[in-house]
Symmetry: C2
Subunit: 166 residues, 2 copies
DNA sequence: ACTATTTGGTTCGATATCGTATTAAATAAA
DNA sequence: TTTATTTAATACGATATCGAACCAAATAGT
């Protein structure tokens, strides 16, 4: 697909413009699809979340359920690739909703540990319960194998982009 | 991967819970990667955009460049899967930045046609010029073929999710 | 023709996101 | 030890997103 060709007159090696254009369209189209799928999935999920909470909230709760609570705000922020100031705000919302509590961080007085409350765990169960039927309906039309096949590339791409940002 | 099994006692066909759980994790992981890739790509692109404009702005300009201007706000909003009220706001920003103009819609007095200005086209060229090097660096680590291989599934998934939302 | 409903767009208010600047604790340097 | 730098978190302000309510034009129903 990537064709390098040599300009006869100058002797320089270049990507032919039309080819580069094609590739640009390809990568661009890829990220475009990713963006729209994300948009659609976000809306779909958010419409099922109890109590008018948003993906940002669910994301944090889900993170704490999967990896265990007691993490610091900064850890959660970097895991979700959002600025820490955004996480401060999201956590404030979760606290107000009674889904998390803060505990002092024994190893650093500046920091905190984010703890799930019982209501937080219940919220997670409820949200998962609401989402599972959506997944089942999705999987009845698009087989799980295809998701499994697509996943490794996304993981690799994510890992690359993650390290490449400076 | 999807294993349907029959309960000997009742005779009912069911997805075994552990399997369903695995599948949930799979689909969930998929959308999670999509979300983070989108996040990273957005940040990356946004940091390169001239004039402090955002993806939402670039998205509209790019849309008009690709498909031709003269589209209505609502058409653009649905194409981008955002509420029309969001598009009103985005278009106001673009107008204030001098990148678009509004023309009356000859076939509907309530509506408008969104037209690109010269500055709008220049902005697009400049943005593309800033993005292309990013793509090239990306493609030097992840070959274009892999993007090409991943794209069809994403397109199919998007199309499905698009029609399935009600 | 006349009313009812739908549709394109904006306004408004509530909340989210994020960059900049700030505070306080931790760590490094002297 | 004292000072300088880094680091965790927050405060604040500017802008984005989005739902509800609204208006006016278009279309449907009668």
């Amino acid at each position: 697909m990537v064709r390098i060709c040599r300009q006869a007159r100058t002797g320089h090696w270049n990507i032919r413009l039309s080819q580069a254009d094609e590739i640009g369209k390809l990568v661009f189209g890829f990220f475009n699809e990713v963006g729209i799928i994300n948009q659609l999935a976000t809306r779909q999920l958010e419409s099922k979340l109890p109590g008018g909470l948003l993906i940002s909230h669910f994301g944090v709760i889900n993170h704490l359920m999967r990896l265990g609570d007691g993490r610091t705000p900064l850890q959660i922020a970097t895991a979700h690739q959002v600025p820490k100031t955004t996480m401060t705000h999201t956590l404030a919302g979760l606290k107000k909703a009674g889904l998390i509590e803060f505990a002092p961080n024994p190893s650093d007085a500046r920091s905190k540990c984010v703890m799930l409350t019982e209501a937080g765990r219940a919220f997670h169960a409820q949200a998962i319960g609401a989402i599972v039927p959506e997944f089942q309906s999705l999987l009845s039309d698009i087989p799980a194998e295809e998701f499994a096949a697509a996943l490794p590339f996304l993981q690799r791409l994510r890992a690359y982009m993650d390290t490449a940002r400076d």
